[in-house]
């Protein structure tokens, strides 16, 4: 058991090097996509936390929007400095989710899916309808960027996508570690229990409703944080950024990637984004992009119902067997 550990360490090191070097090999627009991708990984990973309890929401992207609008308004209207406003924005998303949990958790399964869509869409339409303070259909413009950091000898300008990518990457990795710790804790185990054995969990004294609410609030808070990362990078938010089409993308990342592992949705997000934004653009299929994307979506649920994570699991299994066999030969 102690033998493969250097291997894991090595692969983590390799991953770190790839993540650091990656933006330098890309064009400017690809660097921007990389920033969005990093933020989206947080969105889909936080979404997964909710799916652990067995509920699929269509309002998650609006929670991201609540964070973005919240942080933007706190800086613009109240003059809160940017890093603090981001935390406040994320907390706002958590609080709104807590409020929504009261009506929404009267529903389950398909009804929850539709109910969360309705709740999210109502919030989005409120942004669209009320020019003051949400800016109406055009949204909020000229949001304060993340402030430059001046060390004296070196100045980090967050307008540069590479710098913002590093910043977002650090935040996202921190959040992923927190999400992972939550899942491995008693709370996370209870989420699983709530999903697979809710009656049994309830009979052993677990407050199922409270745990569902907790999952919703945590996932919304992290989605809100992702929203603030987006808002202070692009500098403008409007209702269309958080519409059902974007939600569909999050849903498909999670389903194509698979949600039983923490890396499943991340792989789904990376592969589908790379495919949609880079591969299909490169081969010049601008208008045909949704066509190919849609076909891949259908094919992946038909032929890969357990998601990409299942493929990864099998590859790891094969590699393990290979290593194992090699060692026996050595002996």
């Amino acid at each position: 058991m102690s033998k493969p550990q250097p291997l894991i360490l090595l692969s983590f090191l390799l991953l770190a090097v790839v993540l650091i070097v990656l933006p330098h090999g890309l064009s400017y627009s690809q660097r921007e996509i990389l920033v969005f991708l990093t933020i989206n990984i947080l969105v889909v990973s936080s979404y997964r936390l909710l799916t652990l309890t067995g509920e699929w929401s269509l309002g998650h992207i609006v929670m991201m929007g609540v964070g973005a609008y919240g942080s933007a308004l706190y800086t613009k209207e109240l003059g809160v400095p940017v890093p603090i406003s981001m935390i406040l924005g994320a907390l706002t998303a958590g609080i709104i989710a807590w409020g929504l949990s009261f009506p929404l958790f009267r529903m389950k399964g398909f009804y929850f899916l539709i109910g969360s869509f309705a709740a999210g869409e109502i919030i989005r339409l409120l942004w669209k309808r009320f020019r003051d303070p949400f800016g109406g259909p055009k949204g909020i413009k000229r949001i304060d960027p993340f402030p430059d950091i001046d060390f004296g000898f070196v100045r980090i300008d967050f307008f540069d996508p590479v710098n913002y990518y590093y910043f977002a990457l650090i935040i996202v990795i921190l959040c992923l570690v927190i999400l992972w710790r939550i899942e491995k804790s008693m709370i996370g185990l209870t989420f699983h229990a709530v999903h697979w054995q809710d009656k049994l969990a309830e009979s052993t004294g677990v407050n199922v409703r409270a745990y569902r609410t907790l999952a919703l609030v945590i996932s919304a808070t992290f989605a809100g944080l992702a929203g603030t990362l987006l808002a202070h990078y692009i500098g403008t938010v409007n209702p269309n950024v958080f519409d059902i089409e974007q939600m569909v993308f999050v849903l498909t990342w999670a389903i194509v990637g698979g949600t039983t592992t923490i890396y499943g949705p991340i792989i789904g997000c990376i592969i589908l984004t790379a495919l949609n934004e880079i591969v299909l653009r490169e081969i010049g299929l601008e208008q045909g992009r949704p066509l190919v994307y849609g076909l891949i979506l259908i094919a992946s649920v038909l032929f890969m119902p357990k998601g990409l994570e299942d493929v990864v699991k099998k590859v790891i299994e094969l590699m393990k067997q290979h290593v194992f066999r090699g060692r026996i030969k050595d002996v």
Partner: protein
């Protein structure tokens, strides 16, 4: 004031007509297959583009084109059943995602074929039924209302009076018991997909001259249809029709007297309220279809 209300009522009747066609199809597919067809709005859009292609561009007679639209979109429904919903019958979430993929494919194909711009279909007739000074009903809109009446009555007769209809309702209520009775649930699901899709297609075709057509109209149609099937009680065809009328009336009145976004908010709140208070819907029972 009364005249304005009457006119709004007529407008609502028109909206209710095509909305109920779409919603009833959606309910039928859900009842039999247990899957929510996210691409249902796109089937409506496809129906409208059949009219653009054959009536506007090729000058074929309008009612022939509507019939072609019905059959063509119905066949698209069968394709969906065979390629996606049947293989994914044990995986409702997978069926949902596949239908999202299908939605993107149809939209992209239409954009590739017709472009993203709005299409204008010239009306078959410019006649207007003048009820009073301010209350008018264009005959083109009357066509939509009449065809909804015809299609829904035909569907009702089919479901209640024919053997196929009995089989369809039986397998919606209890697929296993239906199979034990010798009903081929596969044939039933193909028929349900054909009818469900064809209803959306005919709605799109017949409404094409009176609505503005673009490749993205499916979106607003499916949102309204979702509201309607929830308010009507998912699985209830009569409920879907009643809820279509209620929703169309409320939505049209608020759009006329306040504004469109508020009307959408009220519609969604109505749906949320129904979900909170009575998740089986206002007119729903335990049975499906």
């Amino acid at each position: 004031m009364i005249e304005l209300l009457l006119q709004t009522g007529l407008n609502a009747l028109f909206a209710a007509a095509y909305l109920s066609l779409v919603a009833v199809g959606l309910v039928l597919i859900f009842g039999v297959m247990g899957v929510i067809n996210f691409a249902h709005g796109e089937l409506f859009m496809l129906g409208a583009y059949v009219v653009v292609a054959l009536y506007t561009n090729l000058q074929m007679p309008f009612f022939l084109v509507v019939a072609i639209g019905l059959i063509f979109v119905g066949l698209v429904g069968i394709v969906m059943e065979m390629t996606m919903f049947h293989p994914l019958r044990d995986n409702p979430l997978g069926g949902l995602v596949a239908s999202i993929g299908f939605l993107m494919v149809i939209q992209a194909l239409i954009i590739l074929g017709f472009g993203v711009r709005m299409e204008h279909v010239p009306p078959v007739t410019q006649d207007v039924i003048v009820i009073s000074e301010k209350v008018r009903l264009p005959v083109q809109r009357l066509f939509v209302i009449l065809s909804a009446l015809v299609c829904l009555s035909a569907l009702w007769l089919f479901l209640k009076r024919t053997k196929f209809g009995w089989a369809l309702r039986a397998s919606a209520q209890d697929p296993e018991a239906a199979m034990l009775q010798g009903i081929s649930t596969r044939t039933v699901s193909i028929i349900a997909l054909f009818i469900g899709a064809a209803l959306a297609g005919v709605a799109g075709s017949v409404a094409a001259p009176v609505i503005s057509i673009s490749p993205v109209i499916g979106h607003s149609v499916i949102v309204s249809a979702f509201i309607v099937i929830i308010v009507g009680g998912i699985g209830s065809l009569e409920g879907a029709v009643l809820a279509s009328a209620t929703y169309a009336f409320i939505h049209t009145v608020i759009t006329t007297f306040v504004d469109g976004v508020i009307a959408d908010i009220v519609g969604l709140s109505l749906m949320l309220m129904v979900l909170i208070i009575k998740p089986t819907g206002m007119f729903g029972t335990q049975d499906r279809v």
